[in-house]
């Protein structure tokens, strides 16, 4: 199966998992569960759960030879609940970011944001509930593999915590309030707000597939570079693509006076940086076992949009 057929197949697995593992809209309190499902099931590329599922499949297909050769003992399990948990976290962060006290956005993926569709209090609680649901899913669905459950809790909570996802969001808010954000500030924001969550997608998939500690380190390296490449490409597209191509308002960053890679380094250097991080991500993936065709194509499709 080639990439163009595999991608929608993975997306269907992710969508089905989301629909099945999130409480029904009729569960009491119905309004809260309706809002959670509205935020979660309204489309989206499902990039994060697809990364988790595809990474787990890498190890399952490879028969995890390294794990068998060494004395390393690992528990393996279906990666779908972990993939859904990470998408719940990603979605909660969007719901809270859209609130009036944050970015105050009315639209998300062409539909009213959760607080516009329901109300602010409901959106706040739905975000809180999606965050908590991530850990309910990990706790419930990996009960039979406690070491895996503990490792997933640790990795996912760390990636979502005050020094990573939320810390990056806070620094992003602070950077908007000052004109002189530095390259170091920008890297802090993107490493934590974007790369940490993409990294934990790969790591969670690796954990579920039975990756060794050395393989998990390679996944961390790949995730870090993928996250930075992904963000630099976003900055380049905002500066160069027209609104129709982008599907959202182009040039928003420059208009808002926002510090971006393009503003700090110029277009040519940004393109060079994006290529370097993409190559580094692919080089780390190449060291892993199994059939890397899909993951390699996925990384290419995410980071190669500027050529």
């Amino acid at each position: 199966m080639d990439f163009a057929a595999q991608l929608p197949a993975y997306r269907v697995r992710a969508e089905q998992g989301l629909d099945r593992l999130v409480p029904a809209a009729t569960t009491r309190p119905a309004r809260l569960h309706e809002a959670m499902r509205y935020a979660l099931l309204g489309g989206g590329k499902r990039l994060r759960p697809i990364l988790t599922l595809a990474t787990a499949d890498l190890f399952a297909r490879a028969g995890a030879p390294e794990a068998q050769i060494s004395n390393f003992k690992s528990e393996i399990a279906d990666a779908l609940p972990a993939a859904v948990a990470i998408e719940c976290l990603h979605t909660y962060s969007l719901v809270h970011d859209d609130l009036p006290c944050m970015d105050d956005d009315d639209l998300r993926r062409g539909r009213p944001t959760t607080h516009r569709q329901f109300d602010e209090a409901t959106a706040l609680l739905a975000g809180d509930a999606l965050l908590t649901l991530a850990f309910q899913l990990v706790g419930q669905h990996y009960a039979a593999t406690p070491a895996l459950c503990a490792a997933l809790t640790r990795e996912i909570a760390d990636a979502a915590g005050s020094e990573k996802l939320i810390g990056g969001q806070m620094e992003d808010l602070l950077a908007e309030q000052k004109a002189d954000a530095t390259a170091a500030d920008l890297e802090f924001i993107h490493l934590n707000k974007t790369a940490a969550m993409l990294t934990v997608c790969l790591v969670a998939g690796g954990l579920c597939g039975g990756a060794t500690p050395a393989q998990l380190d390679r996944l961390r390296t790949a995730g870090r570079h993928l996250g930075l490449a992904f963000q630099i490409v976003d900055d380049i597209l905002d500066a160069t693509a027209d609104t129709a191509t982008l599907g959202k308002t182009a040039g928003k960053d420059a208009q808002a006076g926002k510090t971006t890679y393009v503003k700090l380094h110029g277009l040519e250097t940004s393109r060079q940086l994006a290529r370097e991080h993409t190559d580094a991500a692919l080089a780390a993936l190449a060291l892993l076992p199994g059939d890397k065709t899909f993951l390699t194509a996925l990384v290419g499709s995410l980071t190669g949009r500027t050529s």
Copy 2:
């Protein structure tokens, strides 16, 4: 050591744990960690972590005889990180409840609420970060006891989730908007908003101390009745005590037209219900091993305030 000496000793253990296990205010982003510590370290009775620590001590002191007799194998560990995790969850729920889109409170324990001291966006993120920190603490500090780590994740996430803590909060908001909340509505709110979190304090302590499944069931029964008694007593005090005694504005519930036990059942029946739930909690605790003097006195002090 008697209750009057033990209570402050437990409180000191809880305070020291909070100070030590929550990231320093200088950790980047400093503003976020300052807000988290401001919300968490500004006083409070520390009821929840004290319940967790005292329950764990019950089993440690008893030498967990039931666990030794049966084939039940359990991992035991220091309950302090779990106690701190639960206090982080309790605090996040207060920070988010105080926000303008929820209760819009300016004061909490005599100090400006977190969003008044900082700003709304910072308070929102600090609440998110405290919620996430609860699971970081469980993931990090119970890594050496993975089955315990997995059980704590499951129990704590479930108690904090959309059908318990957050669900109770949502139903509470909905009940304020309708005049005809029923006794069943009220019980749903208190079972989930109050009792579920008090129950998980006892259960987490029991898990850390090595309680058997049967003992955990007794702790669940005790927590459920303790939570309901606690809430009924709160309603009685709001209707009967004067503002000076209460330390907060008395009669607020009646003024707000809020459905309470006193409004639904009258003062005498409410007192009777509080006594019945207190007795049921104490009866469940009496079936546990170890020296129950402190826990019994604590339950009495929490629920005996109406006599």
